[in-house]
């Protein structure tokens, strides 16, 4: 079966884990890995896994985009270089899946709004953050039942699973995730807290999601909505599990959950890595299915 050919930009934890996910996809094929350090472990691993590589950043990829028919690129670099990467690749008709906190394009949480992004043929969609992918589906599960004035999420991540890019730019993570709790989750005010936990052995990704509803929460409907949403996320992240809740205390609805990864690149505790790469892969697959069926066509964008 024909597959859509993909490039991966950024050879760190996320980029490397993406290779495994994309290789398993029935509609995607990883072809290029782009890095900036010729000696990087990530590039060496990508070569071993059969990808073409360049250490010259996105400029090293551009001359090969058309001849290799690259149609989707995943950017796992940083918020600061994403804008330029996206501009250059969009100009060649490549659709961008943004795994940085840059958020130039619309924010995407697959079970909440992926379908509408695909219908609009967005050329750049942003995957928010690992904490966003893990928690926003559940904020939305509450807000689709009744209005949420405030939603707060606490994501606890194993220290070993948090790479240097995230560490150096924690505020971008906070801003992007908090904003997405509002824009995609549907809360009027959102707040995101990240805890990087160095415990040994490494802890599995744990999340606490709290929503304050405007009116008395409808326990039956909200519980049903949350359980249904967990099922939706489990379709692409099998290790997405409810630990406790929903617990109701007045207008407060709380859910405690954990995310186990598939253990592709980092061990299973790094569910935060998996939920990001799995959501990005799911997003790319939806676009790929639409392209392969001829329903949508990617077009080179005019560069302003």
């Amino acid at each position: 079966m024909k597959k859509i050919r993909c490039a991966l930009i950024g050879s760190g934890n996320i980029g490397t884990d993406l290779i495994y996910k994309i290789q398993r996809s029935p509609v995607l094929e990883p072809v290029w890995m782009v890095g900036i350090d010729p000696a990087s472990e990530g590039l060496a691993r990508a070569r071993e896994m059969g990808l073409k590589t360049t250490a010259d950043g996105v400029d090293g990829l551009l001359p090969h985009v058309l001849e290799d028919n690259i149609q989707i690129a995943f950017d796992a670099t940083s918020a600061y270089v994403h804008a330029e990467n996206s501009r250059k690749l969009n100009a060649l008709g490549v659709m961008m899946i943004d795994l940085t906190p840059a958020a130039i394009g619309p924010l995407c949480v697959p079970p909440v709004n992926l379908r509408q992004h695909a219908d609009k043929v967005e050329m750049n969609v942003n995957m928010i953050s690992c904490a966003g992918q893990a928690t926003i589906p559940l904020v939305y599960a509450v807000s689709r039942i009744q209005s949420v004035g405030y939603a707060e999420i606490v994501a606890s991540l194993a220290s070993k699973s948090v790479g240097p890019g995230t560490r150096a730019n924690l505020d971008e993570f906070t801003y992007t995730t908090s904003g997405a709790i509002e824009k995609v989750g549907g809360a009027r005010k959102g707040k995101a807290l990240a805890i990087i936990n160095p415990a040994e052995p490494p802890m599995i990704m744990r999340n606490t999601i709290s929503c304050l509803t405007d009116d008395e929460p409808d326990h039956v409907k909200i519980t049903e909505s949350i359980l249904q949403m967990i099922g939706e996320v489990q379709k692409y992240v099998p290790g997405y599990r409810l630990v406790n809740g929903p617990i109701y205390d007045g207008n407060k609805v709380q859910v405690f959950m954990e995310v186990a990864g598939l253990g592709d690149y980092l061990p299973k505790y790094a569910g935060n890595l998996d939920i990001m790469t799995a959501a990005a892969t799911r997003t790319a697959e939806m676009f790929a299915e639409e392209i392969l069926s001829g329903r949508i066509q990617l077009k080179a964008m005019e560069v302003a």
């Binding site: 707060e152 606490v154 220290s159 240097p164 560490r167 150096a168 730019n169 924690l170 505020d171 906070t174 801003y175 707040k191 807290l193 990240a194 805890i195 990087i196 936990n197 160095p198 606490t208 709290s210 304050l212 407060k252």
Partner: protein, 277 residues
């Protein structure tokens, strides 16, 4: 014998007292200290000559949350109310990356805060570079605050402190958040920091009094060259920052004298997650 050696090594050491009652003390009061109480205590501390006092939610910038509890007022309201009344004391704030942000730090600066503790777990200093750099850009007195310091050995603390110094921290703290350390633990960590940090970088110690060791640990810290000290009663604390040996001049401060009785409430309950810093 021992007191002889202590009095020698402590003699002439200048110590800077950094009061924590109104920040770490917030935990003991379930974050419920009023603006009026803050101003009353802060003006008394200012009159007593305490040079630095910290004023925020117990968890610092961004602390107001379901996770950490909501204070009756915003950090901006507390800081503005206190800072506008200070004759000599500088108001400081706590910023834990992942909870607080640079935007909130800027807002605190606009309200009159001029000093900040950028705090990370003692193995995660590399989550603090942008916040430390931003604080320096604002011209704030900037401290790297290594929390739960008993969970890293002296060599590890030295490495993490060196990172914070490289980001721009002017002071590095050994923070015994859990009140676990004994004087020898404090000395080894402060000593290791003193060995690797630049001579002009100050070293601080923030203790907790769980084991009744707050004062002894503070004195040990001062003694350990760099010598910082602190005293604390669980769950709040009164850290003291020490000046490098080269700058020593005689001065003495009593941390206990500055703690208001109202803070040592017996109606204190442990938050659902440990938010003691």
């Amino acid at each position: 014998m021992m007191s002889q050696s202590n009095s020698t090594s402590l003699k002439g050491r200048k110590v800077i007292l950094h009061d924590m009652c109104l920040r770490d003390g917030m935990h003991a009061k379930r974050e419920q200290i009023s603006v009026e109480q803050m101003v009353k205590v802060a003006t008394a501390l200012d009159d007593a000559g305490v040079p630095y006092l910290q004023v925020t939610h117990g968890a610092g910038m961004g602390g107001n949350s379901l996770q950490h509890g909501f204070a009756p007022h915003s950090n901006e309201e507390y800081i503005s109310a206190v800072a506008s009344r200070m004759k000599q004391a500088k108001v400081s704030v706590l910023l834990i990356p992942g909870l607080g942000t640079m935007k909130e730090l800027h807002a605190a600066y606009d309200c009159g805060a001029r000093s900040v503790h950028v705090a990370t777990h003692c193995t995660e200093a590399d989550t603090s570079p942008q916040h430390i750099a931003y604080a320096r850009k604002l011209g704030m007195d900037t401290t790297g605050f290594l929390m739960m310091a008993h969970l890293n050995d002296a060599e590890g603390i030295a490495k993490q402190g060196k990172l914070m110094e490289s980001y721009g921290a002017q002071t590095v703290y050994v923070t015994d958040s859990a009140g676990y350390m004994l004087p020898e633990d404090v000395k080894s960590r402060v000593g290791a920091l003193r060995d690797v940090l630049k001579p002009e970088t100050e070293i601080g110690f923030h203790g907790h009094h769980n084991l009744g060791m707050g004062i002894a640990n503070s004195i040990a810290a001062i003694e350990a060259g760099g010598g910082a000290a602190s005293t604390a009663r669980q769950p709040d604390s009164v850290p003291v920052r020490a000046i490098p040996r080269s700058k020593c001049s005689p001065r003495c401060a009593s941390a206990w004298a500055s703690r208001p009785e109202s803070i040592s409430s017996s109606s204190w309950t442990w938050p659902r997650t440990s938010s003691c810093r």
